[in-house]
């Protein structure tokens, strides 16, 4: 299948299409882990984005479905160097190609992903258009790449949050945690379930009274796609509930909480997406290797007076965690639930959460 990837700077690369026929538009971002493609393409945080993996071999161990982070593919498109059709793993049920086809997602392979990565590194994240099919209109693709709205103008949370609230009941007299689903990854819920709590998951457009109604011991704001400033309802919920119950945030959740506390966020040049990002805990001095996937960050200076910076990225010193002990707020920018990526902070983060909840 013919395939092209058009970029907002007017450049265009040809490749070999796989997965579904059709056209995808979105922001082209790169991620650097060499395992975990199944987890990555099903991660709702990639909504609105065309994901490119820097590792050149993708599909080696096929697709098992065991580690999907949501109910299906969430990336708009997939850009890789080589797609391995002949996969080898005892758990594999289908090839990457077949999975994308079933899910209606277009992918492009046989492109120089390192060249594109270097381009993004220099230029910043780019709007792009991926076209798969026998009949490709290059001009239209370039136009779509340029003409599409900026990611900050899109309500992506609304596209990936759950439609209705639901609950996962824990044991008798178990603690109760409310989760605001901004595009939650499955493994966050898995981690909560392990604690045997009762979990109440709310769609992003819920009201604070709906949340109060379940009498939660804490609120967790999940990860999710896009610009945090698009999450006005979530910001409002945090503003209402902060100080009342402990509030935790992961990734987009952290950014929303920051905005609710009066801090500011900004867009990173090309984001952090990888399984090798070093985070330093300022209290212990320890460095953890974390899994990250975010294009926006909290303005460090704006935290002043509203929250205490607790963790920073060792590479670029951006905000990786903050807390406000008076308001019982604690959040991290990276993904302690990993999937994909290292588990260095998983136990630590969810234990912290448990300590706070169990105090109540």
């Amino acid at each position: 299948m013919k395939s092209i990837l058009a970029l907002e700077d007017g450049s265009l690369v040809e490749g070999v299409g796989f997965g579904a026929e059709g056209t995808a538009i979105g922001e082209l971002v790169f991620a650097t882990p060499f395992t975990g493609y199944e987890e990555a393409i099903t991660d709702p945080s990639y909504k609105g984005q065309i994901l490119m993996l820097t590792y050149p071999l993708v599909g080696n161990y096929g697709v098992s479905g065991a580690k999907f982070q949501s109910n299906g593919i969430k990336t708009e498109g997939f850009v890789i160097r080589e797609k391995c059709d002949l996969h080898s793993h005892y758990k594999s049920r289908q090839s990457l190609d077949a999975f994308l086809r079933d899910e209606g997602a277009p992918g492009i392979s046989e492109v120089d992903t390192r060249m594109l990565t270097r381009k993004i590194r220099e230029y910043g994240t780019m709007k792009a258009c991926l076209c798969n099919g026998e009949d490709i209109d290059r001009g239209r693709a370039l136009e779509l790449a340029k003409a599409q709205p900026d990611i900050s103008e899109l309500d992506l949370i609304g596209q990936v949050t759950c439609k209705h609230a639901y609950k996962i009941m824990g044991g008798e007299k178990s603690k109760r945690i409310a989760v605001l689903d901004l595009g939650i990854k499955r493994n966050i819920l898995n981690n909560l379930e392990k604690r045997n709590w009762s979990i109440f998951v709310f769609p992003s457009n819920s009201t604070e009274s709906e949340i109060r109604a379940v009498e939660p011991d804490a609120l967790l704001l999940s990860n999710g796609p896009g610009d945090p400033k698009q999450g006005s309802n979530a910001i409002k919920i945090v503003k209402e509930l902060v100080g009342e119950i402990p509030i935790f945030g992961i990734c987009l959740g952290l950014q929303i909480i920051a905005l609710a506390l009066g801090c500011d966020t900004y867009k990173l040049k090309f984001g952090h997406r990888g399984a090798n990002q070093p985070v330093k805990d300022l209290k212990s001095g320890r460095v953890y290797i974390t899994s990250q996937n975010h294009g926006f960050a909290v303005d460090k200076d704006s935290l002043e007076g509203d929250a205490e910076l607790t963790q920073i990225n060792v590479n670029d010193h951006t905000v990786e965690g903050f807390e406000n002990p008076y308001l019982d707020v604690k959040c991290v920018q990276y993904h302690p639930e990993a999937s994909p990526g290292p588990w260095d902070t998983e136990k630590w983060f969810f234990d912290e959460l448990a300590t706070k909840i169990n105090k109540r």
């Binding site: 690369v13 790169f30 650097t32 882990p33 060499f34 395992t35 975990g36 199944e38 987890e39 820097t54 590792y55 050149p56 071999l57 080696n60 161990y61 098992s64 065991a66 580690k67 160097r81 080589e82 391995c84 002949l86 996969h87 080898s88 793993h89 005892y90 758990k91 492109v111 120089d112 992903t113 390192r114 060249m115 990565t117 270097r118 590194r121 990888g274 399984a275 090798n276 990002q277 070093p278 330093k280 001095g285 320890r286 460095v287 290797i289 060792v314 590479n315 990993a338 999937s339 994909p340 990526g341 290292p342 588990w343 260095d344």
Partner: protein, 1071 residues
Amino acid sequence: MPKRENIKKVLVIGSGPIIIGQAAEFDYSGSQACRSLREEGVEIVLVNSNPATFQTDVGVADKVYIEPLTLEIVAEIIRKERPDSLLPTQGGQTGLNLAVQLHKTGVLKETGCRVIGTSVESIMRAEERELFFDLMKDVGEPVPKSIKASSLEEAKKGAEEIGFPVIIRPGYCLGGTGTGIAYNMVELEQITMRGLDLSMNSEVNLDQCVIGWKEIEFEMVRDSADNCITICSMENVDPMGIHTGDSIVVAPVLTLTDREYHILRNAAIRIVRALKVEGGCNIQFAVRPDKFDYFVIEVNPRLSRSSALASKATGYPIARVATKIALGLNLDEILNRVTGKTPASFEPTIDYIVCKIPRWPFDKFKEANKIIGTQMKATGEVMAIGRMFEEALQKAIRSLDTGRYGLGADGESEPITDAEDLRTKLRKPTDMRIFHVRDAIAMGMGIDEIYDLTKIDRWFLYKIRNIISMERELRNLSLDSPDVFMTIKEAKKLGFSDLQLAHIFRSDEITIRELRKKKGIKAVYKMVDTCAAEFEARTPYYYSSYEEEDEIVSSDKKKVIILGGGPIRIGQGIEFDYCTVHAVFALKEEGVETIVINNNPETVSTDFDISDKLYFEPLTFEDVMNVIEREDPYGVMVQFGGQTPINLAEQLSMAGVKILGTPYESIDLAEDRGKFRLLLERLGIPQAESGTAMSLEEARKIASRINYPVLVRPSYVLGGRAMEVVYDQKELDIYMAEAVRVSPKHPVLIDKFLQPAIELDVDAVSDGENVLIGGIMEHIEHAGIHSGDSACVVPPQSLSDETIQIVKEYTTRLAREICVKGLMNIQYAVKDKVYVLEVNPRASRTIPFISKAVGIPLAKLAAKVMLGQSLPKTYVGLPPIGHVAVKEVVFPFIKLPGVDPVLGPEMKSTGEAMGIDVDFGRAFYKAQLGANMRLPAKGDVFLSVKEEDKDLIIPVAKKLQQMGFDIFATNGTAEALRQEGVRAKEILKVSEGRPNVVDYMKSRKISLVINTPSRKKEAKRDGYVIRRNAVELNIPYITTIAGAQASVEAMEKIGGTKDITIKSLQEYYGG
């Protein structure tokens, strides 16, 4: 934590001579550690017995001791130098074992020297199996069932408990020496007995066998603040059952899911934390392929061959970082020199595939058992980088320099098509395994069947099948087919070489090259940057691929390409890497931009901050030419990397490349036997009579003309391959029939064998006019033994002044006549007169030895001469030397069952040690000790010599008797000795019944064996059994009369290691 201020002077222990299992990787890690210590202002004392290493250069450490790596001597160095700290993790198993001994014997406590980095307690917990298993139990990590046995009885009981098959490993042994798999009691007995003998603590470990499971390795780094990171994961293509040093290895792991990968990563973190590693650590896992389950197999809390590979594979300098950690720094306080911006506390990620292939010595040991298993047999390895697995694999195959240009389709071998034959070969893997897998797929054997036979993951088999499918697709086309270049482009992406394409299209390499270039199919270069392009990187470390973007930024500076030596193998060792590095530094001093091309991940020359630019590429014409065309250098240096780059000189020269220094015509003049003979005749310099035979008839004629014995060898040789001395026509006929395929294209060279003669090696530097003779090295062993296998001494001990004058004169004249600009090595034989045996206008393997012996950096001077400079006047002539230096070699016999440990015209040694002292005896003793030959001070000596040596052995025996040794001999030798008044006790030969000499040896009654090999068949077999037992029982043994004479002289000077005095190179040079 900031650097510990109380660390001011650090002792670094090297790993000694290159042996199988311990190659150049420890020169690399030790040298990097020294640079890292220097950066922090720490004074460095370094000890290593191996002069061929870069780390033993006086510029690397403040005090360099080239002394034997024994407990007593290192203790003496500590007492003398008083370092406050010891860094034990850079010198391989040798360094680690010494540190443990220094700790256990209280030397460290006595001298107040502390171990920095990973502690001795941690080292012992990882190394001693029982402590290790307790540790694994504590952290809840699964290990295969394991039982320790110190007797055969215990081993049998253990095996019953574990169940066959079991793996048996001797305790504290290098590179898996003596390790074997027993499928039944008989095998168990054999392997256990051998293992108990070899073990340093007379113990063997019996382990549950997980053959066929995936073998996965993790390279970890931890600092004292408990920060812990993964540098690299690696997957062995050959699963459990084949030593990782003998496996094809890829990085990163390619067949595990994210979850499986992180389960192992987490296990690795738990282990290094529990062990309190402070520095680098390697962890090996066995992973079940059909259902996720794993065992921890091994933990090495030090730098290793794998850590060198991981460093080169990712660009992350593990040795440098581990050293900083030992000094007290934390990972986030150490800068990642690759990006120059980010700290070392991150995990490298890569955007390419790395493939490592071992290089085996079987071309030198035809009689060796070529089956690869749990005991490592490879001497070295190559690494290749590609954007596809197929590409990395084929590039790695080309890098091996074994005459192969990819996985098949190069016309170099006939594929095997017999299914039964292939099944047998796949079941019993040899060095040719990857080609057998290829042939099996090509002949239509199913992937599942191959998997069942090899347990190589199907993923790799599918990829190999892709290569074969491409070959088929190409074979269906011709160069005129429409769109053929579209397919060729795809083939290039899969790593096909121009030579493979030329073979497929019945064309030639140059034609293919020109055609594809015209179609725009050219290699581009990508950077190794530790971060998959996420950050801008500053280290210019590149690999080629066939893709869109080329990242090279070419400068306008004057630049020179220096070709490295490729994999470590017999005949081409670490010496050439030493020379390569020296050339780089010389050019840097002259302000020239240096570009190195090499493919050996173990070396200093492929370290990221040695040259200005590094291309990790195969050393073939195509790959080298690609870089030359991209960089457009001032010239190329081929003299430093040994025979591999020299072999490229002709093609490069023909392609219009400027070869710096000695021009190709001169190289040809020296290497072309005919031209060289005429030159010597014209100069009136004596040479051994010789001839070139194109057929058996001609060979017979030449031999009878010049008289037997004659030295015969095929043309194109590397390290004396297939060379033999034949004594009569019958032997000649056998040699011609078995050893070579003689033809006009491949003639056989026949030389008069000069015997007995003293052989000399001379290394010189010439600018075409002025000549520096580095030194005249007199071989201990007589002519007929490969110069690379002979011990040698400088200055010469038995030459007259007149002979030395003649050697100087010949050397100078030859340098001028051949127009040598740079290095030159000449071999002489001294008999009735001085004969020239051969001239090599390139770096020789004695360059580092002679440079260190005389304190003059020959390779560096040569590199400057090659830039066009004149040799400084102060260096012309033969420099005086106020001490004696001896080079002794080490052999891989212990790792190669079945090989007869005798010396001959074929080179067999893997490495060398140097002894330096005030006189020959002392220096020779040290050299022996450095080469792990501990000459005894007392005990019983067994003598058995061939007829021709009977007279010569008598003075040796007399001296031994005077020193208080009891002499044992077989009847012939005993008779001869008694007639001369030596009290020799008679002892039976192996063929004469029992108890015989081997029984005596096994009961540890013999402390030295002197056995010169006889040419008689019966005696030959007897001798073989004696020598082989000496090797396996680790009894010092000598196989030449000259060696015996020198050893006795040494034993007279030094009664034991307590008599040894030590001195640093700086002290020798200073006065």
